[in-house]
């Protein structure tokens, strides 16, 4: 049977959304507190059941405690803000300064993105690594586009192989990041619809023709500007503590960049392509939280709430029936 104290700690654990070592440390500290309080209450004459419920009541709402602990830990340093903004900033400069014409810069940037992603993944997936991870998905997208340039029979042969593999890889990365926090997945996926939007604006037929490259010269400053704006918003995202503010900032980043694309792409994109892009953008914000719910419901043993006699917010303390 799940005791109220176990349930309390489980709610804290699932609501914390911190790195694994920080989460373990918080739970260990709360367990130590509960141990002391529980012992004191049982020594004062309460039954174990009464002591457990009183203890939960004295601790206060588990969700509130978890939220406040998240806010105490969530604020990144300026260094982390700079690290998180760097890939967007580099891509912004890549277009704004016309580096995109040099294959050397492109290769160096791809190498940097992959190295930073691997390094961050191995260092426990700090929040700054997620924008880098988003760009590390680009080579997979580029490989798909390159398949279109192969002779027709090769394309037909390889595309059915490519799509399941690419989708599996995308799904795997999203699941892994969602396990930490769905917001990290959204942070990671955010550049993808923006890149896709600009790509379709330049090459509505989905192929990089000479005409599309000519258009790139015209659009490059605006593409650069949209990614520099994204970099500034992401740096702010890392510095703020409140979760609702972080969600708001990602939404602002999505709306702002999409508005820029829509403005410059007017008459170049069909209504259906625009709608498709809007759907993908919505997906960036809706799929990760839904996946998180799914992952957690499969990971956690099901809690039979009828077996839990006490709730954090409504506990009557046995001594004198005093309400805390």
């Amino acid at each position: 049977m799940i005791t109220p104290l176990n349930h309390y700690l489980e709610v804290i654990k699932t609501s914390l959304r911190l790195d694994a070592p920080a989460e373990t440390e918080v739970i260990r500290e709360l367990e130590a507190h509960i141990e002391d309080r529980f012992q004191e209450l049982t020594e004062s004459g309460l039954s174990e059941e009464e002591a457990a419920s009183t203890c939960v009541g004295l601790l206060g709402s588990a969700k509130l405690v978890a939220r406040q602990i998240y806010e105490a830990h969530s604020q990144g340093t300026w260094k982390q803000a700079l690290l998180a903004a760097t890939p967007h900033l580099l891509l912004g400069l890549f277009f704004a300064l016309d580096w995109w014409q040099h294959i050397g810069w492109l290769s160096a940037m791809l190498a940097l993105v992959i190295l930073a992603s691997i390094y961050g993944w191995w260092r426990g997936k700090p929040t700054w690594v997620f924008p880098w991870l988003g760009y590390s998905l680009l080579p997979v997208m580029i490989a798909g586009i390159l398949l279109l340039y192969l002779p027709r029979h090769w394309s037909l042969l390889l595309l059915p192989l490519y799509f399941p593999l690419a989708l599996w890889w995308l799904f795997y990365i999203i699941i892994q990041t969602t396990k930490k926090d769905w917001l990290c997945s959204s942070l990671m996926l955010l550049p993808i619809p923006i890149i896709a939007g600009w790509f379709l604006t330049i090459a509505p037929e989905g192929r990089l023709t000479d005409y599309a490259i000519q258009r790139m010269y015209y659009f490059a400053p605006w593409i650069g500007l949209s990614f520099i704006a994204l970099a500034l918003i992401i740096a702010t995202f890392i510095r703020v503590r409140q979760r609702w503010l972080r969600i708001g900032l990602l939404a602002v980043a999505a709306i702002l960049t999409f508005a820029v694309i829509a403005y410059y792409a007017s008459e170049r994109l069909s209504i259906s392509t625009m709608m498709g892009l809007i759907l993908v953008m919505w997906g960036v914000f809706l799929v990760p939280p839904l996946l998180e719910r799914w992952v957690r419901s499969h990971k956690r043993p099901k809690v039979d709430k009828e077996n839990i006699d006490y709730h954090a917010e409504e506990v009557l303390v046995a001594k004198g029936s005093r309400r805390y």
Binding site: E25, V26, R28, E29, L30, A32, H33, E35, D36, R37, L58, L59, G60, S61, A62, L64, V65, Q68, I69, E71, A72, H73, Q75, Y324
Partner: protein, 111 residues
């Protein structure tokens, strides 16, 4: 009229720093000490003490360290840092000014 909790919100950091200035303590010990010294006036919702401690630690005002007690249990002790001590001096000064001003208005006969 502001509730006791509202009044405490602005002063909780000062209270914690003040207690830790005297000796390193762990969370449960802080709650007991605060309650005892204030004769039951200051009572945290116990869980909310930890976010406050973690916030102070992130700000570099206190440091934490796990220690094993004589009974074998492990407790996370918080120590005040030099930065915390400097901040406490400023806060004590601010509170003193606040109390003096309040007293001048609310209880002028005691001044």
């Amino acid at each position: 009229m502001a509730s006791r909790n509202d009044l405490m919100k602005g002063g909780s950091d000062s209270l914690l720093l003040c207690l830790l200035e005297q000796q390193p303590m762990y969370g449960y010990q802080i709650i007991k000490e605060l309650e005892a010294r204030s004769q039951g006036y200051f009572r945290f919702k116990e869980g909310t003490l930890y976010p406050a401690l973690h916030r102070l630690e992130k700000a570099g005002l206190i440091l934490s360290q796990w220690q094993t007690l004589a009974n074998g249990r492990q407790r996370k002790y918080y120590h005040i840092t030099a930065k915390g001590l400097a901040k406490l001096v400023l806060e004590k000064d601010q509170w003193q000014n606040f109390f003096n001003a309040m007293q001048l208005i609310i209880m002028p006969e005691n001044v």
